[in-house]
């Protein structure tokens, strides 16, 4: 999967060529490791030792935390092109579960193999560091959303974020307003930090107001400008300025 420079949110300009080279070199390391995994497959068990770093070629995955009293929170959603479980380079155990959300093609590299490349090749090291920086940016945004955002704002941000990232990865066209959305409403609630009842009401409200419709495994954005208006208070500086998040984004026809 080829990367474009726009994918590296808020990067220092002088790092672009190194990051692009790092991506090509990583592709070499991952070569031949692709395998198909089905929705629901648990790739990494919570609180387990794990030795691989992954990249999604297609499909969706997530990191989530479930506790014995039944509460479950999505932490991050991974989309095509995302490198994930990079922490395998640095830590022995993964505290949270990584699960496949839709049928996916996943590549992997053993941490020792990547560690060797990381220590001898600054391009690989930069790419790994950038991925962790990008995850941190997304997590900071989501912490703000969970702490300060209403359920409507959170759902709007989720849809804007997913669409923007799918455009950047080349999985959908820049003017696409409909895309695959494999999450159930219960899973949407687990991402947004609200109950299934509340999720259902917000989803229904978006549909009835002609903002966006989630059905049959896809989302259709009907009023991009309104969706962005609702999401905007929770968007970070990068999302406010990147074309894929709406400043020059598509308008309904």
């Amino acid at each position: 999967m080829a990367m474009n420079a726009g994918r590296f949110a808020l990067h220092r300009p002088e790092l672009v060529s190194s990051l692009l080279r790092g991506d090509l070199k990583l592709s070499e390391l991952l070569k031949g490791s692709a395998r198909t995994l089905h929705a629901g497959h648990v790739l990494i068990e919570a609180n387990s030792e794990h030795e691989y770093v992954y990249r999604l070629r297609s499909g969706w995955a997530c990191r989530n935390r479930a506790v014995p009293d039944g509460r479950d929170q999505f932490i991050l959603i991974f989309l095509p092109g995302d490198l994930f479980a990079v922490k395998s380079l640095f830590v022995t155990r993964h505290p949270d579960r990584v699960q496949i959300l839709s049928d996916a093609i996943v590549e992997r590299v053993h941490y020792l193999h990547l560690q060797e490349a990381y220590s001898r090749d600054v391009d690989i090291a930069n790419l790994c560091m950038w991925q962790l920086t990008e995850e941190e940016r997304r997590l900071h945004g989501w912490v703000f959303g969970l702490g300060q955002g209403s359920a409507e704002e959170r759902l709007a941000l989720l849809l804007m974020d997913l669409r923007g990232r799918l455009v950047l990865s080349g999985a959908i066209r820049e003017d696409a307003l409909t895309f695959e959305f494999p999450l159930t409403q219960v899973q949407v609630g687990e991402q947004l930090g609200i109950t299934p009842v509340h999720t259902n009401r917000v989803v229904k409200s978006f549909r009835e107001r002609g903002i966006a419709a989630l059905r049959n495994g896809e989302v259709s954005i009907q009023n991009f400008a309104e969706l962005r208006r609702i999401a905007e208070p929770l968007m970070d500086e990068y999302e406010r300025s990147a074309a894929q998040y709406g400043l020059k984004g598509p308008q309904p026809t």
């Binding site: 014995p68 039944g70 509460r71 209403s150 359920a151 930090g193 109950t195 009842v197 509340h198």
Partner: protein, 97 residues
């Protein structure tokens, strides 16, 4: 329930009594939460008052757990109430009555 079973075609089984109780309990919580949203949307109850009520329920449940009432169920019930409370906090502020 056994009377209802006797009217079913051969090969079809009805849910067990436990499943029926769980289904009614789940349906009750879902219905109650829907009604809570309606109350706030219609501005009949403020979000703050609603959260106070849910906090009250959580505290009661905790007291019951501390008194060893339904020890296995109490933490899960408490988590359900905590989820509802967190979710209600995500209602827009201008919906307050």
């Amino acid at each position: 329930m056994s009377e209802a079973n006797s009217k079913r075609p051969a090969g079809q089984t009805s849910p067990s009594e436990v499943s029926m109780h769980l289904a009614y309990a789940e349906a009750s919580v879902v219905l109650l939460e829907c009604l809570l949203h309606v109350l706030v949307e219609k501005k009949l109850v403020s979000k703050t008052e609603l959260l106070d009520a849910v906090d009250n329920a959580m505290e009661t449940k905790k007291e019951m757990a501390d008194a060893h009432w339904h020890e296995n169920i109490a933490p899960v019930a408490g988590a359900v109430l905590a989820q509802i409370a967190n979710s209600l906090r995500a209602l827009p502020e201008d919906n307050e009555g």
